[in-house]
Every structure is written in structure tokens, then in C-alpha cells.
């Protein structure tokens, strides 16, 4: 597998300058209300910029309810390719009376404010440009139906913003068509609304100092969210079984996968399904079904988030000990218990690594990009079936549900790896089968599938004590023998999981380690540090257990900062467990307020930490 998008970074033209807006380097912040249908409007702006060749990312900050609560959408355009979250917004569109005062107060000098007429306002200093727009009045002539107005009004701000930023109207239109092409009436109405906005802006405003200018940074790239990418990976990875229980932010993975399957996985001859998707009654059942299906030979997966993961604990231990493949996607949200279901985090790491009572260790993949999601969507199955153990893929809400730019995904070059499965004819050849015997010295045993027509095929699968021949035993020799082999199998895993992505800096004393969505803030962070005179090496962790390169990297640097989005420095803890002798040099930069991590926060953390003392940023 390639680097899956990681590190294919665009060299910054002028490194370091990322915080104040200039052409092709600005952030749009839209404050609106949940369920008001601003999604299309925001996507239109995002796509228009993207189509102009400017790197962009879109982040949706939504509440845990269905309608009526505050929502924010942030579009970052950055010609340096910095697409992580940035706190500072340069252009605000304020439509929500509940939050307008705070939204406006948060804007910094030099920013531009587009505020719906009549919203509550704080006093705004002169060094911000303020425009009040009578959206409701403007929309009236366009639509009669009140419900429709609520939706169409959003397109007016698209017009306004595009004019302010000098976004090519033809690109706005292309973006509109891409979304509403199939609904001509809606398209017309929205087109009209955009025009109204453009016209109004032209008459009442002046262009912003930071403009959108055609560039060539997005040619041939796609826009996609991580859950959809993961669904595509599973689709082309040949998934045959999905059981899941709805939970934010993982539902969209299961639902998009089900959509793809229904469309592309009906048998051409019979029109019947080459897959089974089951909505389970809860997550205990979801993982139970996955184990049953994997045991019987299906490529089975489930998707969940924190609370569901916790419910899978007992079965996770069973799968580890009875050695049954399984793929579990955990799209992380923040908090113990229900927490904040629509906020992101990386705080399930320790609980996943040791999920289940008893001595248990699990293989984990850390997708950092949408391309990782796609490739791990396939690879997780290969690893699970090769290693005969559950493989957990630790994504998060930021990767999973937000919109990212990426190289288009590559069609898999090689076939799948279904691991060590003995068919009836294999059994005929080998003459001997013991389910839990380490025949090849890699600590991975062979298995047979139920239904295999051979007298040697059958064996008894159990979570209780068993020996190499899968016979029940309480022997104090057999038990540790099995457990030691499982430990060796974990060593084998180190050689099979994706290697870390490493970027060394000449003579750097400081190493930075990150995983998952945190990766996107690292380029920006390192460029800034470099300009500040602190060159840093970088290692992106892509799997647990850690391949040996990780130890070499830590050994190679005096101080290593592990940047992660949780309170308890969970990845640092795993590294300290793995490398006790190196533990003293491992430090932490932590971020856990539920919003995606940003470079500024990391910089604060690293700077502060260079005066030794672990620091928490927010």
C-alpha cells in the first residue's frame, strides 16, 4: 500500500504566514441553525473555490439534535495546502440570532462581517468591515412558499460571499448544477437567489482585501468525507457482511456502504445480493453477528462509536482469544458515556488497545486521510483474516464526517488476502489439522470453515480454555502456551501493519508524533516551527502494535512530542509502555475540547513544553 495521501504535501510558497488573510488564504465562517438547509449553500461555496484550483476544507460543527440548534460551517481556503481547522475566521456570515452576539464578538481585526438584518449585535470596532443584509426582504420576491424561503435564503449569502471574495460566478453555477442538476425547478430558484445576492453585494459592498484567484492546486483531485471513503474501501475490499447499530458519527459509514452495495453488488445474473446488511438490536448483537459471519467465512465488519465500542468489550476478548477475524470501525466522538456525540476526539485509544478483561491486546489502524480510510477499508479485512483477530480502525468525526480534498483513489492492484483457511482438498493433502497449532512459526494457526466436507475439518470454537487441537482444557501448561503464542502473533502483526510515515529534518533534536486527523495540522505546525528556528522530524503512526521504525525514530530524537486529541495522553502512554527505556523523552501535547485540533494550539503546546513540563492546550 502506498502512502495513501499522507505527506504528498504542497510545498508552501511562503512558509509560516498562515494566520492573516491574503489572497487564496482565508477562512469563511457561516453561523446558522440546524435543519435550515444551509448544507447545499456551504457546499456550493466550497466546491466553487475548489473548482478554481484553491485547496479547501470544510468543517461542519453541528449539535446533537435534529433541528433548531446552532450550527457552524467553516470553509478554509489555503494555497499552501493547510487544510486543518484554523480558529481565526476572516469572513463571517451570521444568520443565527441565538449566537450572533458571540459569533460577531469573536471576529478579529481586519475581518469582514455579513450579518442578517435585525440580529442582536455587540458593538463592533471600526477595524472590522460590517455589512447588514436584509436577507428576508431579498428572498420575498423570489419564493412564495415560506418553508421554501427558509432554504432559498441561504443561496443569497452564497451570492454575497462569492462576490465579496471574487469567486468566479461560473464556478458557483457549476457547483450549483453539480448538486441540483437533477432538480431543474430547485436549480432555477437557487440560481436566482445567487444572482440576487451578487447584485445586492455589487450595489452595497466592496470586495474583500483577500480574494479568491484561479490556481492549479486542485487539478484532478476529489472532495469526499472519510466515512464515504471507508465505505468505498469496504466495497472494493469485497465486504460480504455488515451488521451495525446506528450511532453518530459512524452511521453515515454504514448507510453509505449499504447504498453502494445495493447499487453495485447485485448479482448480474440473478439480481440477488452478494452481501448481507443487518441493523442489529444493539452493538453487542452487531459484533456477535460479525463474529458468527467471520467464523463462517464472510468478510464481516461493523461500524460504531464510543458507547457502542464499550458494549463490544466482552465479544472483543472472545474474538482475540478464540482467534476470529473481525473488522470494527470506531468513528470516535468525544467523552466517556454519551459525551458530546457531534464533537471529535481520539480518546478511545487505550480502551480499544486493551478492550476486554484479561490479557488482551488488539491490532489498531489509524487512518489520517480520506485515502487511508479507503485503503484501510480494504486492508483491515486482509489483516483481520491473515492474523485471525479483530482489527479496529480508529477514525474520528473530523475525518469521517467532514469534507476533504484528496487524490482520486486507486483501484486495488492485487487480490485479497483471506488468510490461512484450509479447504477440504487442503485437508486431504496435509492429512492433519489442529486449529490452534503454530505450524509456520509465525504464531498464526490455520482454520477451517463450517460446511467444509472433510472428516478432519470440524473443530470446537470456544472462549474457554483450549489446547492446540481446540480441545477443552484447564491445563496450567496449555493455557500459558496459548497465551504466549497470541503474544507472538502480536509480534507478527508488527511486520504486517502499515509502516509509519516519517519525515526527517536534518539534525532535528525534536521529533513530533501524531496519528489520525491530527496529521493535517502537522505540516502547518512544522513549517511555523522551522521558521521559528526549531526544525522538527515527524512520524505519523498508522498502526498499533508499533512497527520497529517507531522505536528508531524515538531513539533518534532528544525530545519527542506526541500530539493527540485526548486528555490522558493515551498514545504517549502506549509508547511509554512499549519503550520503557525511552519513556523519559516522550512528552505530550494535548487537545480535547471536541473541536478539530489546529496548528496554533499545537505550537502553544510545543513551545511551552520546550520549557519542560507537560502542557495542555485548548
Amino acid at each position: 500500500m502506498g502512502l495513501s495521501g499522507v505527506g504528498r504535501r504542497i510545498e508552501p510558497s511562503t512558509p509560516g504566514r498562515a494566520l492573516s488573510a491574503i489572497d487564496n488564504r482565508f477562512t469563511i465562517h457561516v453561523a446558522t441553525v440546524n435543519g435550515s438547509g444551509s448544507q447545499t449553500a456551504n457546499t456550493t461555496l466550497l466546491r466553487a473555490l475548489f473548482q478554481m484550483g484553491i485547496p479547501v476544507s470544510g468543517k461542519n460543527l453541528f449539535p446533537s439534535n435534529i433541528a433548531g440548534l446552532p450550527t457552524w460551517f467553516t470553509i478554509r481556503a489555503n494555497d499552501q495546502g493547510y487544510v486543518a481547522r484554523i480558529k481565526r475566521a476572516d469572513l463571517l456570515v451570521a444568520l443565527n440570532p441565538e449566537t450572533s452576539v458571540a459569533d460577531i464578538a469573536a471576529m478579529e481585526p481586519g475581518s469582514v462581517l455579513v450579518v442578517a438584518d435585525g440580529l442582536p449585535m455587540p458593538a463592533t470596532p471600526p477595524d472590522r468591515t460590517l455589512y447588514k443584509v436584509p436577507f428576508t426582504k431579498l428572498v420575498e420576491p423570489l419564493v412564495a412558499d415560506a418553508k421554501l424561503r427558509k432554504l432559498v435564503v441561504n443561496m443569497i449569502y452564497v451570492g454575497v460571499v462569492s462576490w465579496l471574495l471574487g469567486i468566479d460566478p461560473s464556478e458557483v453555477d457549476r457547483a450549483l448544477v453539480a448538486q441540483l442538476g437533477r432538480k431543474p425547478k430547485a436549480l432555477e430558484m437557487n440560481r436566482a437567489a445567487v444572482q440576487v445576492g451578487i447584485k445586492y453585494a455589487g450595489e452595497h459592498m466592496k470586495r474583500t482585501p483577500f480574494q479568491a484567484r484561479r490556481a492549479d492546486r486542485t487539478a484532478g483531485k476529489i472532495l469526499i468525507d472519510g466515512n464515504q471513503a471507508a465505505a468505498l474501501g469496504a466495497l472494493f475490499g469485497g465486504v460480504t457482511f455488515l451488521s451495525w447499530y446506528p450511532i453518530t458519527p459512524s452511521s453515515s459509514l454504514a448507510e453509505q456502504l449499504e447504498g453502494f452495495l445495493a447499487r453495485y453488488r447485485k448479482d448480474p445474473k440473478s439480481g440477488k445480493a452478494t452481501y448481507a446488511v443487518i441493523q442489529a438490536e444493539d452493538e453487542i448483537s452487531a459484533i456477535g453477528m460479525v463474529l458468527g459471519a467471520s467464523w463462517a467465512g464472510a468478510r464481516a465488519m461493523t461500524t460504531t462509536s464510543g458507547p457502542g465500542l464499550s458494549l463490544m468489550t466482552e465479544f472483543a476478548g472472545y474474538a482475540y482469544y478464540a482467534e476470529i477475524p473481525a473488522v470494527v470501525w470506531d468513528i470516535q466522538r468525544i467523552g466517556p458515556s454519551t459525551g458530546l456525540p457531534t464533537r471529535t476526539s481520539q480518546a478511545d485509544l487505550l480502551s480499544v488497545a486493551f478492550l476486554s478483561h484479561g490479557d488482551t491486546k488488539h491490532v489498531i489502524l489509524f487512518p489520517a486521510t480520506v485515502q487511508d480510510c479507503y485503503e484501510y477499508g480494504m486492508r483491515a479485512f486482509d489483516l483481520a483474516e491473515r492474523l485471525q483477530t479483530p482489527v479496529f480502525v480508529l477514525s474520528d468525526l473530523d475525518i469521517g464526517m467532514n469534507t476533504w480534498m484528496s487524490q482520486p483513489f486507486r483501484y486495488p492492484e492485487n487480490p485479497w488476502d483471506r488468510g490461512k483457511v484450509l479447504s477440504a482438498s487442503d485437508l486431504e493433502r496435509v492429512k492433519k489439522f489442529e486449529r490452534y497449532r503454530d505450524v509456520d512459526g509465525d504464531a498464526i494457526p490455520y482454520r477451517t470453515l463450517p460446511g467444509t466436507n472433510h472428516p478432519l475439518a470440524a473443530y470446537f470454537t470456544r472462549g474457554s480454555g483450549h489446547d492446540e487441537a481446540a480441545r477443552y482444557t484447564e491445563s496450567s501448561e496449555a493455557y500459558p502456551r496459548v497465551m504466549d503464542r497470541l503474544a507472538r502473533k502480536f509480534e507478527t502483526a508488527k511486520t504486517l501493519v502499515p509502516a509509519p510515515f516519517i519525515e526527517k529534518a536534518q539534525g532535528a533534536e525534536v521529533g513530533l508524533i501524531a496519528f489520525g486527523s491530527t496529521h493535517h495540522a502537522m505540516d502547518e505546525t512544522r513549517d511555523r516551527l522551522r521558521t521559528e528556528g526549531t526544525p522538527t522530524s515527524y512520524l505519523l503512526l498508522r498502526a498499533y502494535p508499533f512497527p520497529e521504525e517507531v522505536e528508531r525514530f524515538v531513539r533518534g530524537h532528544k525530545r519527542v512530542y506526541v500530539v493527540e486529541q485526548n486528555r490522558d495522553a493515551q498514545m504517549a502512554a502506549l509508547l511509554r509502555m512499549e519503550y520503557p527505556e525511552l519513556a523519559p523523552r516522550i512528552r505530550s501535547v494535548l487537545h480535547y475540547d471536541g473541536l478539530p485540533i489546529d496548528a496554533e494550539s499545537i505550537l502553544k503546546g510545543v513551545r511551552a513544553a520546550e520549557r519542560p513540563s507537560e502542557v495542555t492546550t485548548r
Binding site: G53, G297, G451
Partner: protein, 348 residues
């Protein structure tokens, strides 16, 4: 269980002994061992091909028994109370498997009640046997959720709570084959077991199976004596497999015949009163009344062609999903290209 002489082989040339598993480690006299015997005999008489059978169970003395029969079948001894979900997954991965589930009253009515109900609701094709002794045997005799009101534990405690009747629940949840029997009555249990394998969809068999060590004493309502006393057979059950053409003739009105999914037949010989197992309300009524006048109705409680089974609902291909080759589960390159194109609107 009596092993027939070597000469005595079934339609696929196997003896009853060939259907045995490893030696039981249960208490001598345990009802579960008797059920194991009936299962072995039924499988032998049906001529089941063991490699096609998947034995599923949870945790408990009862759930250990799959190790004691059909030694040449794959088996999955799951975690406590969660076998139904595992069975559901296994069936969907390979719909050709003949699914057998063995569970206990604690495993299915206490910790596993939710999964049991949802398995039945999904109509997963499986012969689901509950070896019901009213207690947790393996953990030494605590009450389970099927313990009857007023029954006394060895510890002296008396159960005050209403028992959960898994047969009634199954009927309510749309199950198409619901039977109750007694481990001590192989004459009734075996034909019911055999019939269950001919039903397409979930078939539930609740088998009263005394725990001789912890629940066979005076005052227990699930002891051998008490079970015998209150056993009230609804009819005499005979099973006629599709591969045999036996003629049984009773005087008209004396019996009912029920034809099953694969063409096999159950003949029910009338006892004191006529019982129609295809009448859903009547079945529930019978169970409810049994509670009141403390009679345990055994036999085929309810049968119907029932709803589509889950694999039919999902419209699965005929072959096992497990064995589909890569080319049938990985869409062609064009599909990916098409999808990428739709996402690719970048400029320049």
C-alpha cells in the same frame, strides 16, 4: 440413549454412534444428557450430514452439550446469552448450513432474552433448543427467569416472580414452529426435533430438563417428579420424513397431519381433546391456561409456514456469501472510475 447395533445404519450409511461427540462431563442423570441422546438419535434417523451442521451455544451446562453430540460438526460456544447474534451472522455468511442452537433458561431467558427475541423476530433459520431446568446449573443453582412462582431453591429461597415462557414469547414474535417437551420423554422429543429440522425459519423447542444436582428436590417445580406429574401432552407426535413414505392410518377425526416446508409430515394423534397447532390464539390460550391450572402443555404448540426467513428477506444469492470469489464481490474498475469522476470537480 440406546445405541443401535452396528448393522443398523441410516440412509447415509452411518450408525447412531457416529453421531456422538466427546464424553459428557455433566452430572450423572442430568436431563441435558438425555436431550443429547435424543439429538443424536434424531440426527441419526434423519441422516443429517454432519459437515453441513453448525452447532451454536451460549454458556452453561446446557451450552456445553454440543461437545457431546455430532462430533464431526463445527461448533461455536459463544459468550453467555449472546449465541443468537452469532448464529444470525453464521447463517447469513453461509445459508447452506443447518443451524442448531442449544441454550439454557438462564442463557436465553435471563441474560439472553433480548437476543433470543430478536433472533425469533428476524426468523433466522435455526433449530433453537432451550434445555430448561429453571436454574443456573453451572453456577450452582440460582433461580433463572423461567423459575416458577413458589418454587423453592435448594438454598431454601422461594421464587416470587412470574416465569418467562419462551414458547409464548416466540409465538407472539411470529415464530412458525414452537414446541415444548420433556427430557424424560424421548418418544415425544425425538419426532419434534426431527420435525424442527424440516421447518424453514426459526423453530423453538423448550425442553424441560431437570438439574439433578440443584433443582430436583421436593418443592422444585422443575424436578423429574414434578415435571412428570404436570406434563400434559397435547397429542401423540409422529414424524414422517420426506424421504420415507410411510402410511399411518388412524380412524378419521382421530388425528391431524401437518405438512412441513420440505414435504415432511407431522402426524398428531388426538388425546383427550382435539388441538389445532395452526391456531395462534389457541396456542397462546393453551399456554396461559396451563399456567393457571398448573398443567404443562407439551407437544407441537404452534406451527405455520410463517413469514420469510431472514436470508429470503435480504434476497441473498443462493451460494454461501462466504465462498463467493473475488470477482463477484469486487466491482470492476469502471465503477470506481465513475464514482471518482463524480467526486472530481477540481479546477484548472
Amino acid at each position: 440413549m440406546s445405541t443401535p447395533p452396528q448393522s443398523n445404519v441410516n440412509r447415509i450409511g452411518l450408525t447412531a454412534a457416529d453421531y456422538k461427540g466427546s464424553k459428557s462431563t455433566l452430572c450423572p442423570g442430568c436431563g441435558h444428557d438425555a436431550i443429547t441422546g435424543s439429538i443424536i438419535q434424531a440426527a441419526y434417523e434423519l441422516g443429517l450430514e454432519q459437515h453441513k451442521v453448525a452447532k451454536m451455544s451460549g454458556i452453561g451446562c446446557s451450552s456445553k452439550t454440543p461437545a457431546y453430540f455430532l462430533g464431526r460438526s463445527h461448533s461455536f460456544n459463544a459468550v453467555h446469552g449472546r449465541m443468537p447474534s452469532v448464529a444470525t451472522g453464521a447463517h447469513l455468511a453461509n445459508r447452506e448450513l443447518i443451524m442448531m442452537g442449544v441454550s439454557g433458561d438462564g442463557d436465553s431467558a435471563s441474560i439472553g432474552l433480548g437476543q433470543f427475541c430478536h433472533l425469533v423476530r428476524r426468523n433466522v433459520p435455526i433449530v433453537y433448543i432451550i434445555e430448561n431446568n429453571g436454574v443456573y446449573g453451572l453456577t450452582k443453582g440460582q433461580f433463572s427467569a423461567t423459575a416458577d412462582v413458589g418454587t423453592r431453591a435448594k438454598s431454601g429461597q422461594v421464587n416470587e416472580m412470574m416465569p418467562i415462557d419462551l414458547c409464548e414469547m416466540a409465538i407472539q414474535l411470529g415464530c412458525g414452529f414452537v414446541a415444548r417437551s420433556f427430557s424424560g420423554d424421548p418418544k415425544q422429543l425425538r419426532p419434534l426435533l426431527k420435525a424442527a429440522f424440516s421447518h424453514r425459519g426459526t423453530s423453538v423447542l423448550d425442553v424441560i430438563s431437570p438439574c439433578v444436582t440443584f433443582n430436583n428436590h421436593e418443592g422444585s417445580t422443575k424436578s423429574y417428579t414434578s415435571a412428570k406429574e404436570h406434563d400434559a401432552p397435547l397429542h401423540e407426535v409422529t414424524f414422517i420424513p420426506h424421504f420415507e413414505s410411510i402410511e399411518i392410518d388412524y380412524a378419521p377425526g382421530e388425528s391431524r397431519e401437518v405438512t412441513l416446508h420440505d414435504g415432511s409430515k407431522i402426524v398428531l394423534r388426538k388425546l383427550e381433546e382435539d388441538y389445532d397447532p395452526t391456531d395462534r390464539m389457541r396456542a397462546i390460550d393453551t399456554i396461559e391456561r396451563g399456567r393457571v391450572d398448573n398443567r404443562l402443555a407439551t407437544g407441537l404448540l404452534y406451527q405455520s409456514k410463517g413469514n420469510a426467513s431472514i436470508d429470503e428477506d435480504l434476497g441473498l444469492v443462493d451460494e454461501p456469501l462466504a465462498s463467493l470469489p473475488l470477482e463477484r464481490v469486487r466491482p470492476p474498475r469502471e465503477v470506481l472510475d465513475k464514482i471518482m469522476a463524480s467526486l472530481m470537480t477540481g479546477g484548472a
